[in-house]
Structures are given as structure tokens and as C-alpha cells.
């Protein structure tokens, strides 16, 4: 990234120069990487929906068979199921996210750091693990039954659309909380005061203020809806077994069962992409068409509501219920299951054992998935942060060329790209004989899986980094240059202190998400090398619930330990001045 500052900041200049040519080359190279990694495989794969001969010699050049497949039978049902549960999940997550935002930003509720940490934890836990936790508790022969607590009445409704909605709804809470939280925090007291002065009653003033939250609420719903449509974990681990097909699982079965139906899978991918993209585009249009700007230099911090009496009881009960259902229930399910061996029978202290954990690292289960996923996550996070950071820096430059604007569009669109679609695109694209001829035969190897991880992580990471990088005043680095620093030193001296924390957060988030990633892993894992998510799901599919749960707990703990240790090391090793920056930011930001 230091290369960005290797010459003066002169993007707008029309004067051709050696410097601009260099920068153009580097930007073009990174742009090409994005095109090769994301655009080409996806577009090539999507083309199959209309041009089946691309995958099947002898098939018609143009055909709508794939589209017809997507709109008939199980595929159509899967699509309708996905739409239904995603709408419900969006509504649930947005309601809870709005409430949580208000409680943490505008009341004197205690444990705010714990609440914030819980939300981030929820963001890290993949849906297939949440599902597994609920299942281990509620299923016939499950933990509650073994504790002689009747749970079958709950299990049957859970093992269907309700369970899918619950898991997706709770998993969407972090997106809703982070989207709405900023608006709630930035709503200055003067707006509320003005509403009270002019409206009179508290109820009327709330009605006046409410529309200010609409963009955040619409954004939250759109993001959770898109995430739910794209989700593969719950579709794979719960919905498929409950005869409740979902679109992502329909896509998976189309390319994972004989006969392969790439054309149908591509058609489903079109629908998935559009259904995730359309609400995001609508949200962007809505929020751009009206000015809801509420953050400004003259903003006065809103007063905190002091919780008392019934309101206090209500708020704490709400928090307890939400986090009990969203985190504790699935965690208790997996944790207890990981300590049990065999099926049936009562549970007592003596039946709890660590033997499943021993097996995780023994030859029976082999500890290799953990180390394999660790290595892949380490490489993915490092490459993603380097490339994503560079892309973010290019995107925030003033006077962007059409190429940069196109890159921005591609990255924005790719955030809504379901991992399962990207994985399917990779399977199809990199299985072409041309790669053998080019000496780039990476299909079925860890290299392809790594590329897939990086490709799916880059759009999100670059969007995550755009904000912090855009906030660094260009004069910081320029002042350093003027006072004698070369480009590399100027970046380290005057830019890195501002973006280090964001880069670290992006690295940790990418690491933890990749460690437990399912769709790409499931589609691209090389023979004999199982990523954690695949290993866990293989164990569960083989009814080794104890082993699967133990591996899940180890994986979660491992992710948390890495996040904790790396964050701690960061705090310990950074210079004193960087800590001063952290303290200034602490009142404004939440995060790792």
C-alpha cells in the first residue's frame, strides 16, 4: 500500500507522467485481479443459464431450459421458501436491532461493552453452528429429552420454517444493530428538543422523529434479507433435512448430484443475485433521493434516558431473552452435546466426558481440519486485507476514473453475491481444460479454495476499510513527505496509525469468518483435506454429534482466542501515541 504514496497526490492532473503510468499499472493490476477472481468466473457461470452448450457439448447454444428448471418443482419451492423466511428474518432482526441500538446508545443500561461484544460474537458464529446447537437441545434423544424435559413439542415446529426464521433472524441481529446503531447515536438532542417544542406530546415528537430512522431501518432490512437469501449454512444443516427446500440448497444439489445441472444452477444463481441485489439497490436509491443527514459539527449529544421502574425491568428482561435465545441456547446445546457420548439415557454429571475433545485431536477425527483451516484463514485474511486495503484506498481517491467507478460497482455488487454462487462459478470455471493447457490446473487443490476464500472476502473487507481510510486526511501523509519522509515512511508514519486498527479488525473478521466458512469450503475442498466446517458437518451427517459439537466448540474457542490474543498483542505493542488515538476513538467506535 505504500506504493500509493510513491509520488504526489495528483489524480486529477491530466498531465501524463511516469508516476501516473506506474500507478495506473498497479491499479489496473489489482483491478484485473478482482475481475479474474470474481467477475469472470461468476459471469461465465451465469451465462450457462442461457447458453448450456458452454458446459454440455451437443446442447443447444441458447436455451431457457435452465430458467424453466429454476421456476418449477423443488427449485421454485426453494425460491419461495427462501423469500418467505428472508422477509421474516429481516423483520425480526431489524426489530431487535433497532431496540438494541436504542437501549445501548440512548439509555443508561449497564453492561454495554458486554452487549457490544455479544453482538460481535454473534457475527462470527455461522448459521450451521447455531442450527446445530438448537437441534442438539431439541431433537428426539437430544439433551432436553435426556434431561426429562419435554422438548418434542418445540422440536417439530423448529425443524422447519420456524427454525430457519429463528436462526436467520438472530444471525441478522449484528447487521441490523450496526446499521441502525450509528443513526441512533448520531441523532442529536436538538432534533428531539425541536420535536418536543413544536409537537407537544412525547408521542407526537416520536412520530416526528421516526422518519429519520427510516433509511437505517430500510438498510437494515435490505441487508438482513440479502444475507438470509444468500445463506447456505441453515439451508444445508436444517432446511434440507426438514423437507423445507431453500434456494441455496437447490443450487447446491443441482451441481452436487448426478446428473449435474449447471444450467439450472446458473438460473437459480441469477434469481439469488437479483433477489439479494434488488433490495440493496432500492435501499440505496431511497436513501440517496432524500437527505436524512443528521451528523454535523454542531451536533449536540443526546441525553441518556435513565432507566427506572418497569422500564428497567422490561429492558433487562428483553436483553436477557434476546441473548439467551440468540447465543446461550445454541451454545449450551453444542457445549453439552460435546461433553456427551452416545445416544439416549439420562444425563448426569458422570455422563459428561471430555473424550470427544480428545478425539478431535486424535487420529480418529484427526486435528488436521483445525490446522488446515487455520492456515487457509491466515493466508486469506492477510491477502484480503492487503488487496482490500489497496482497493479501498483507490476507491476513496478524488477524481476517480471510469475504471475505478466500475471497480466500485463490482465490489458493491459482490457484497451481495452469495458464496454458494461464487463457489459454483469456481467449480465450473476452473474445471475447464484450458487451465491444464496453461499449466494452471488448480481445480481440486487448496489453491482454488484459497482463491475462492479471498474472492468472497475481498468485497466485504474493502467496503469495511473504505470508511476508515477515507477519514485519513491526505495532508497527514503530505506533511510527512514535505518534512522529509519517503513514500513508504510517510505511509507508515502518518497513515498507518489511523488505519491500523481498522486493518486489524478486517484481518480478524476475515480470519474468523474464513475459519468457519461453509459454502465455499463445501464446494471446493480438495480430496482428503477437510476444512473445519466440512469436517464438522461430515461428523454430524455421520451422527457423530459429540465429535461435531466438540470440533465446533474448539473452532469457536480457537477463533475467539485468536481474536483476543491478537487484539491484546496489538494493544501492547503499539506506540504510546497510537494508544492516544485509540482513546480518542474509543468514545466514538465499537469493535474488536
Amino acid at each position: 500500500m505504500a506504493l500509493l504514496l510513491d509520488r504526489p497526490n495528483d489524480l486529477e492532473s491530466k498531465v501524463p507522467s511516469r508516476f501516473n503510468l506506474k500507478k495506473l499499472n498497479l491499479s489496473t493490476l489489482v483491478g484485473l485481479v478482482v475481475v479474474v477472481l470474481i467477475v469472470v468466473p461468476v459471469i461465465y457461470f451465469l451465462a450457462l443459464a442461457f447458453f448450456p452448450r458452454l458446459s454440455t457439448p451437443g446442447a443447444p447454444i441458447f436455451s431457457l431450459t435452465g430458467i424453466k428448471y429454476a421456476f418449477a418443482g423443488d427449485a421454485l419451492r426453494g425460491l419461495l421458501d427462501s423469500l418467505g423466511v428472508s422477509i421474516a428474518a429481516g423483520a425480526i432482526a431489524t426489530s431487535i436491532g433497532l431496540s438494541l441500538s436504542w437501549i445501548t446508545k440512548r439509555t443508561n443500561v449497564r453492561f454495554k461493552r458486554l452487549i457490544s461484544a455479544s453482538v460481535w460474537f454473534l457475527l462470527l458464529v455461522p448459521t450451521y453452528l447455531t442450527t446445530a446447537g438448537w437441534q442438539r437441545l431439541l431433537e428426539p434423544g437430544g439433551i432436553l429429552v435426556r434431561l426429562h424435559i419435554g422438548s418434542l413439542a418445540l422440536f417439530h415446529p423448529f425443524f422447519g420454517p420456524l427454525g430457519v426464521i429463528v436462526v436467520l433472524g438472530f444471525s441478522g441481529i449484528p447487521f441490523a444493530y450496526l446499521t441502525i446503531g450509528a443513526t441512533v447515536e448520531n441523532l442529536g438532542a436538538e432534533l428531539e428538543d425541536a420535536a418536543r417544542v413544536h409537537a407537544g406530546s412525547r408521542l407526537k415528537s416520536i412520530l416526528i422523529i421516526a422518519p429519520i430512522f427510516m433509511p437505517a431501518i430500510i438498510s437494515s432490512f435490505a441487508i438482513v434479507f440479502a444475507e438470509s437469501m444468500s445463506d447456505f449454512g441453515v439451508a444445508y444443516s436444517l432446511a434440507s433435512g426438514a423437507h423445507f427446500p431453500m434456494a441455496t440448497y437447490s443450487l447446491y444439489t443441482a451441481i452436487d448430484s448426478i446428473p449435474l445441472n449447471f444450467s439450472g444452477a446458473a438460473a437459480i444463481s441469477w434469481i439469488l443475485i437479483l433477489s439479494a441485489l434488488v433490495p440493496l439497490v432500492i435501499q440505496r436509491k431511497l436513501t440517496k433521493s432524500k437527505s436524512y443527514a443528521i451528523a454535523g459539527g454542531r451536533r449536540r449529544r443526546a441525553t441518556m434516558v435513565k432507566l427506572e421502574g418497569k422500564a428497567k425491568v422490561g429492558v433487562y428482561t428483553f436483553l436477557a431473552v434476546v441473548f439467551f435465545l440468540a447465543i446461550l441456547v445454541p451454545l449450551i446445546g453444542i457445549l453439552t452435546s460435546s461433553l456427551l457420548v452416545g445416544f439416549g439415557g439420562s444425563i448426569s454429571l458422570s455422563s459428561l466426558t471430555l473424550s470427544n475433545y480428545t478425539r478431535v485431536f486424535s487420529s480418529t477425527l484427526s486435528g488436521s481440519p483445525l490446522w488446515y483451516s487455520s492456515l487457509m484463514s491466515l493466508l486469506t485474511a492477510t491477502v484480503t486485507v492487503a488487496v482490500g486495503g489497496y482497493l479501498a484506498t483507490v476507491l476513496v481517491k478524488k477524481g476517480a476514473s471510469w475504471g475505478v467507478r466500475a471497480l466500485d460497482f463490482v465490489l458493491l455488487g459482490s457484497v451481495a453475491l452469495p458464496g454458494i454462487v461464487l463457489g459454483a462459478g469456481y467449480i465450473f470455471s476452473y474445471n475447464q481444460p484450458i487451465f491444464d493447457h496453461l499449466g494452471f490446473a488448480i481445480y481440486g487443490t487448496s489453491k482454488l479454495l484459497l482463491l475462492g476464500y479471498v474472492a468472497s472476502a475481498i468485497p466485504g473487507a474493502s467496503r469495511l476499510l473504505v470508511g476508515p481510510i477515507s477519514q485519513v486526511q491526505s495532508n497527514m501523509a503530505m506533511a510527512s513527505r514535505v518534512y522529509g519522509s519517503n513514500p513508504s515512511r510517510a505511509w507508515r508514519h502518518a497513515v498507518l496509525p489511523f488505519v491500523a486498527r481498522a486493518l486489524l479488525s478486517a484481518w480478524l473478521l476475515t480470519f474468523a469468518k474464513t475459519l468457519l466458512e461453509l459454502p465455499m469450503s463445501q464446494l471446493l475442498y480438495p480430496p482428503g483435506l477437510y476444512p473445519l466446517s466440512v469436517a464438522i458437518n461430515r461428523l454430524v451427517a455421520g451422527y457423530d454429534y459429540g465429535g461435531g459439537s466438540a470440533m465446533s466448540i474448539v473452532a469457536l474457542l480457537y477463533a475467539l482466542v485468536i481474536v483476543g490474543v491478537v487484539s491484546l498483542i496489538y494493544r501492547l505493542v503499539i506506540p504510546k501515541g497510537w494508544k492516544a488515538l485509540l482513546n480518542v476513538d474509543a468514545s466514538k467506535n465499537e469493535g474488536f
Binding site: 498531465v15 513527505r481 514535505v482 513514500p487 501515541g577
Partner: protein
């Protein structure tokens, strides 16, 4: 050895869509001189400063710092090799470094040993009155203190050139005045050569050894503050450096020297003005009136005109009046006596402060703003007095 510290020669720069921001600008700065580039927003002054610093490249021309060519058509010495210092508009202090560390950083490129940098930086901070706060971070300092740290950072090294990018624009009026004096004395005390840009005429006249006035990327006049004020090259320069009003009319006769008698449009009045170009009898002119040049008198005499008071404002030492003469407004007419609105008064205009430009040459197109007018009496007192 050459006494020229900066040569800015025939420089042109344009942005995308062919918008020219610097149009064939040339000037020189001699060692120890403080040159102020004065111009409104968009006149290209910031770009000139950034091209000198090496932050932006030029399209044509060349720049020498001392005898070193730092920039020409296809070559640009990077900023770190130009040995200049700069005070940024937003200070650009590194918030993760203390005031002392910020100042000491500027010494790294010099010949100072590492152990000598902090003491030297502390001496500089003492000069700007900040030694007690040397170990504070910028966020723990006020705006004025941050500006002082930026000033200390710029002056601590032996830079060939110190560049000031509107350093006082973010400060309130009182602080601006005090820091202006500090900058002027510290820069001169250190013997530094400086280029200072601002859109504030008062600041320019108070600080400059010479002033360059910029308009739409062109350097329209460069000279001493007195030259600029008393002999503005164009109506734009006159307006931008302060006028109390404009009167259109026709030259009745050419008097001795540069003086002309101008018949005012729409009235029987006439005033005596200084012809700024070759206006002759019968030529249409616009007379730009400097504010300190108008005086209320008791009786009519040569060059006096009548007017009606339309506004009056108490200014402490005197009253400022706004007058209407025919269709022409004259502002900032000062008098120790208060004349109420609607009162008829007689004023005389000092010919040295009545600057007549031939109308067909154009009047520049930049109307003076209220703030320009408000400043005028102050500048006129400084220049005249």
C-alpha cells in the same frame, strides 16, 4: 551566490476537463522575503503553493528552489527532497505524536544528531510559548496552540523555503490578529524566506514584503503593499483590496499629472480622480473609491458632491455612514459626527483614492463582498498612515 530563493517561471497547470488553475504564472522570491499571494477562492493560490511543495505536478514551466531545479515539464523532485517546510491550513499535526515530537520530526532530515533534536525542538516551542505543553498531544491543545506547534515545526529546521497555506483561516478574529503578529515576527527573526497565501487582504497587507494578486489562475499584479493599494493594476485588484463604492461617469477634462475630472452619470456632480490608464476627455470611466478617501465636509468646494445618508453605524472612534449619490452607493464614509438617516451631507473624495479605469477595458467582474468593504478602513489607515 544568487539571492533568489524561489523562481516560479511560466508555470501552467490544468485539471481534468481542461480547467486551467494556474495560467502562465511567473514570479521570484528573494532570500529573507515574505511574499503573500492574495486571491479569492479558485484563483489558484493553493495550487501554486502545492506545486512548490511538490504535492502537485505542473504541466508547463519550471520551478527553482535556490539554484536547484525542482520541477519542469517531465520532471518533479519529490516533496521530501525539496527541503521546504509548510504550515497547512488544517495544521496537519500528527495526532499520535506530542507537540515536541511533531516539531522534532522536522529535524530528522537535517544534520542534527538524534539526541539534539528534542532540545532544539523545545527551544522552538519555547519561542512560540508552548514549552509547558510540549508533551501534550494535539487533541489536548487549543486551535491557536495547534497553530503555534505547526509554526514551530515549520521554522525549526533550516528550510530553504517556508510555505503557509492560509494558516489563520480556521481561527477566530482575536486569535488571528495575535498569531498574525507572531508569524510576522518569528519569520523575520528566523530570516526565513516565506510564501504565504491568503484570501484575507488585511492579513496580506499586514504581513507582506510583497504581494502577488491572483485572479482565475493568473498573476495580475505583484508589488509592494503600497503599490498594490495605491496603484492597483486592474479594477479587480482595486476591488479585491477594498473599495468604498463605484461611480460611473465620463471624463470631462484631463488635469495635471494623472488627474482627471469625471462627470458623474445621472447627476450634475463631478469628482477629481486619478486616471489608472490613458483615459481622456470623453472616455467613459468607472471610479473605484478607496474608503479612507471620503470625508464629510461642511460646505461645497472643488470635487465635493452631495449625498443622502441611508445608513449609519457606530464604530467606537467614529461613525460609518452609507450614502446615496444619485444611483451610486458609497459605504464606510467615516465621521466623528453622527448624521441620521435621510440627512443630506457633502463629501469630498481624495483624488489619490479615487481610481478611474476606462470602462471599455472591463471592470473585472468580481464585485467586492461585504467583508472586503468592512476591512477597507483598516487597510487604508495602515497604508496611508
Amino acid at each position: 551566490m544568487s539571492q533568489i530563493a524561489l523562481t516560479y517561471s511560466g508555470v501552467t497547470k490544468s485539471y481534468v476537463k481542461r480547467r486551467v488553475v494556474i495560467d502562465d504564472v511567473s514570479f521570484e522570491v528573494v532570500k529573507g522575503e515574505l511574499l503573500v499571494l492574495l486571491g479569492p477562492s479558485g484563483s489558484g493560490k493553493t495550487t501554486i503553493l502545492r506545486t512548490i511543495a511538490g504535492i502537485e505536478k505542473i504541466e508547463k514551466g519550471q520551478i527553482f528552489i535556490g539554484e536547484t531545479k525542482v520541477c519542469h515539464d517531465n520532471f518533479a523532485l519529490p516533496p521530501e527532497e525539496r527541503k521546504v517546510s509548510m504550515v497547512f491550513q488544517d495544521y496537519a499535526l500528527w495526532p499520535h505524536m506530542t507537540a515536541l515530537e511533531n516539531v522534532a520530526f522536522a529535524l530528522r532530515r537535517g544534520s542534527d544528531q538524534k539526541k539534539d533534536r528534542s532540545p532544539k525542538a523545545l527551544v522552538m516551542l519555547t519561542k512560540v510559548g508552548l514549552s509547558p505543553k510540549a508533551n501534550r498531544y494535539p487533541s489536548e491543545l487549543s486551535g491557536g496552540e495547534q497553530q503555534r506547534v505547526a509554526l514551530a515545526r515549520a521554522l525549526v529546521g533550516d528550510s530553504a523555503l517556508v510555505l503557509f497555506d492560509e494558516p489563520l483561516s480556521n481561527l477566530d478574529v482575536d486569535l488571528r490578529e495575535r498569531l498574525r503578529v507572531e508569524i510576522a515576527s518569528l519569520v523575520r527573526e528566523s530570516g526565513a524566506t516565506a510564501v504565504y497565501i491568503t484570501h484575507d487582504q488585511g492579513e496580506a497587507f499586514a504581513l507582506a514584503d510583497r504581494i502577488g494578486v491572483l485572479c482565475e489562475g493568473k498573476l495580475v499584479q505583484i508589488g509592494s503593499p503600497e503599490d498594490i493599494y495605491l496603484r492597483p493594476a486592474t479594477p479587480f485588484v482595486a476591488r479585491f483590496t477594498g473599495v468604498s463604492g463605484e461611480i460611473a461617469g465620463i471624463v470631462r477634462s484631463r488635469l495635471g499629472g494623472d488627474l482627471v475630472e469625471v462627470m458623474i452619470d445621472g447627476s450634475n456632480g463631478a469628482i477629481i480622480a486619478t486616471a489608472m490608464d490613458s483615459a481622456d476627455a470623453g472616455d467613459r470611466v468607472t471610479v473605484l473609491v478607496r474608503p479612507g478617501s471620503i470625508k464629510v465636509v461642511e460646505d461645497h468646494g472643488d470635487g465635493s458632491i452631495g449625498g443622502t445618508v441611508v445608513d449609519v453605524a457606530y464604530r467606537g472612534k467614529s461613525y460609518d455612514h452609507a450614502l446615496l449619490h444619485g444611483t451610486f452607493h458609497l459605504h464606510g464614509v467615516s465621521s466623528h459626527r453622527r448624521y441620521e438617516r435621510g440627512t443630506s451631507v457633502i463629501v469630498t473624495i481624495d483624488p489619490a483614492g479615487a481610481l478611474a479605469y476606462m470602462s471599455e477595458k472591463g471592470t473585472g467582474g468580481h464585485e467586492p463582498s461585504v467583508s472586503h468593504l468592512a476591512f477597507t478602513s483598516e487597510v487604508s489607515e495602515e497604508v496611508n498612515g
